[in-house]
Symmetry: C2
Subunit: 443 residues, 2 copies
């Protein structure tokens, strides 16, 4: 345990928008980022969208003296894009890849190829064990009709699971990253309620940055304003969250974001703003008795538990919607595959019956014949692959839904243990489409 | 903390070999398994290869009174095959999918479709928090030329990471499953050394079962003896491992395995034997002072640390071999793809030049022409998919290798902190093919 009473930690989080050859002014921006990091000397730097390892190695070289320790998390086809730079030695990095992360055929969105994940590292800061997490969730391309909502909710679910399960031995927990969720979005509420993580923007004693803490601002030259509609000024989707334990208090003294422009440079660091939080860790054995303990969902008062039941139920409903969608897509793939097969058999039947066979004198039908056969094969192959993919998506969604059902059961049981049942609107009957007798008391 | 001094826990682990329509006598065997589990009333039942959810639901129904709590872990295309049945309420189940798990085109081996993973559940046993893990690693199809060795080593690496990171809050840790590794195999040593998990077969005060604790025996009618060569009697690849903490001691009083035949039945439960461990948990605050503390790698004496450095270095070498192999495979895929593309361009060139064009009077060449075009497309498509797959494999292998390098560095640093450096044969120079200056001190 720390012998110092207070330890200060400065944390930066930035989505670097580092798609080589596609992101604008990529290398110039990395140069600016490296300069800024060297100068600012944050204790912990959490980066996202460092898609190229070469860029990570460039930063590593540039930050060799200011941040001697670093780790780059590899995942997916082009890497998770996650990197940690630190003044403190990085122990035991560990990566959790989300089970769902978009669709490979949505290549223009690219998320699937990124292998989105949450990276974790353990640091020893002034004798305190700090679990540091960096993550980047699936992007939201259309808020009105968000086809990735179920995936992002499952990612938020797995993120909270991962943080809760891996942080039991930690004195403090810090999570930074691009969550691609607005402050009151379902996944965000799920994450914060379940883990007890606190938002540094809301907790900061002092704040200097964009209005409402937005991190994707309309004034950014790399952003098309159209994408932000109806949020005129911008949105807040990047976060630094934190929590202490019964033995350690953690405070956010100051928080800032960049405001688009960078002094002496014609363009900003990225399409996202960088976040900096000045945290103060205070280790005290007596803190347990103090009023500053950060409770997690496990030992929350009844009101919070009831709220959590509502949130998990809401998440479960969203996952169920995703399940129906995935089932429909799988069904469509199967049906199309069967149609391809039938077409192929028809063709083979035509070829087998000589009177229907197309003579060499008819060049056009013969061409069509082979083209059709090729088409059939292409349909069969692609629908088979899609069927396999959708089955995996279904399994992952079902798995998350099972765990959420179990969680609601556990929370409700805890809630029943409270002397006076608080009013809350959590549905005690199982959500629609569920056989009530298949639910309880098992699982 | 427990107020009872001792708590007994009976744990069963069984690979059920439950591939519907392929595994022999599947439903009859599930019936036998359900009967046995009902009768024996183990506290915790850890099952693997329950590939069909229908079979899980069958067991759930049958065990409703003996094991009211259960969880089925869903993953991959056909499910992870992992299930937990318990007398104690299951809290917070969590699944970690291994980043590597064979190849989808090796469909006859099937491992990839299973989405191998480690499932975790938290139980409260007599006031003690028990973290229960169930897993099934990639099978070994040929011991002499094991093409999946790197994948299995990475799985063992991720398994030990997952257990260490998630068990900080646990009083006891129990892992059961089919590790597909012999007791002295690299992955097994890695797992046990790093986590401090102890083998119930080796630790049991009393043992009743097959010779040498083997769990895949030559006498089993479902096994072809040929597969076991050169191990005449059989091999030990299923395990129940456990460890306590500074606050809780754990002992294995008795261990048993089934011995192939089942009384009153003409065939055994599965192609694997079932393992049962009778564990005794003893919670005592004073235990820390006792000699029975189970140290993990983190606080081991120098000799153990040195051994661990050797093991991680060995694992790293194995991962590097896997890396070279994956690189070669990706290169082959790329080369074949380019050849397919060149062939396609050649064809198009032929079609474009009328003097080379094949007239309608030559039916055979025209047929060949279209067949060749279809072949080119098929080559292009499959090599593209393979290239993507191998890139993902490479990323995962590189990620594991990075983490292992970091781990060796951390361990060696710890080792240097010991007053008298013990003799050990860990190579302090980086393994071959490594730029020494790329290693230290970063990462």
């Amino acid at each position: 345990m720390a012998n110092a009473d207070c330890v200060g930690v400065r944390v930066l989080s930035l989505n670097c928008w580092g798609i080589r050859y596609l992101s604008k002014l990529c290398s110039q921006r990395y140069q600016m980022i490296a300069e800024m990091l060297c100068k600012e000397e944050h204790d912990i730097v959490l980066l996202q969208e460092v898609w190229s390892e070469k860029d990570y190695l460039y930063l590593k070289k540039k930050l060799a003296s200011s941040h001697p320790h670093s780790h780059y998390f590899k995942s997916g086809v082009i890497g998770s894009g996650l990197a940690i730079f630190s003044k403190h030695r990085i122990h035991d990095p560990f990566l959790y890849r989300y089970s769902l992360n978009g669709y490979p055929y949505m290549a223009h969105h690219g998320d699937w190829f990124g292998g989105k994940a949450v990276g974790m590292a353990i640091l020893n800061i002034g004798g305190l064990i700090a679990n540091i997490y960096v993550t980047h969730l699936h992007a939201e391309y259309c808020r009105e009709k968000d086809t990735y909502l179920a995936h992002r909710v499952v990612q938020a679910w797995e993120l909270q699971q991962f943080i809760r399960h891996t942080s039991a031995g930690a004195d403090v927990v810090i999570l930074g990253g691009d969550l691609n969720m607005h402050p009151q979005d379902l996944g965000n509420r799920l994450l914060r309620s379940y883990t007890g993580l606190r938002d540094s923007y809301l907790e900061a004693a002092q704040f200097d940055g964009c209005e409402n803490g937005i991190t994707l601002i309309a004034d950014n030259p790399f952003i098309s304003k159209k994408e932000l509609i109806p949020f005129e000024k911008g949105i807040r989707i990047d976060y630094i969250l934190f929590k202490g334990t019964s033995k350690t208090n953690i405070y956010c003294d100051f928080m800032s974001t960049t405001k688009g422009s960078v002094p002496d440079h014609p363009f900003p660091y990225s399409d996202h703003e960088a976040l900096t939080a000045q945290l103060r860790l205070k280790s005290s054995v007596a803190a347990e008795a103090g009023g500053d303990k950060q409770p997690t969902a496990q030992d929350s008062p009844a009101g919070k538990l009831a709220e959590l039941v509502d949130i998990v139920t809401e998440a479960r409903t969203e996952v169920k919607v995703g399940l129906h969608c995935a089932e429909r897509m799988r069904y469509t793939a199967a049906r199309t595959g069967v149609m391809g097969l039938v077409l192929l058999f028809l063709e083979l039947a035509i070829a087998a019956v000589p009177c229907f066979a197309l003579g060499p004198e008819q060049p056009f039908p013969r061409t069509s014949f082979y083209l059709l056969a090729a088409l059939c094969f292409a349909i069969l192959l692609s629908t088979t692959l899609l069927y396999i993919f959708y089955t995996m998506e279904l399994k992952a969604l079902q798995g998350a839904e099972d765990q959420m059902r179990l969680a609601v059961g556990s929370l409700q049981e805890k809630l029943r243990g409270f002397p006076s049942g608080p009013p809350h609107n959590a549905p005690l009957r199982p959500p629609e489409g569920e056989k009530p007798n298949a639910l309880e008391p098992e699982e």
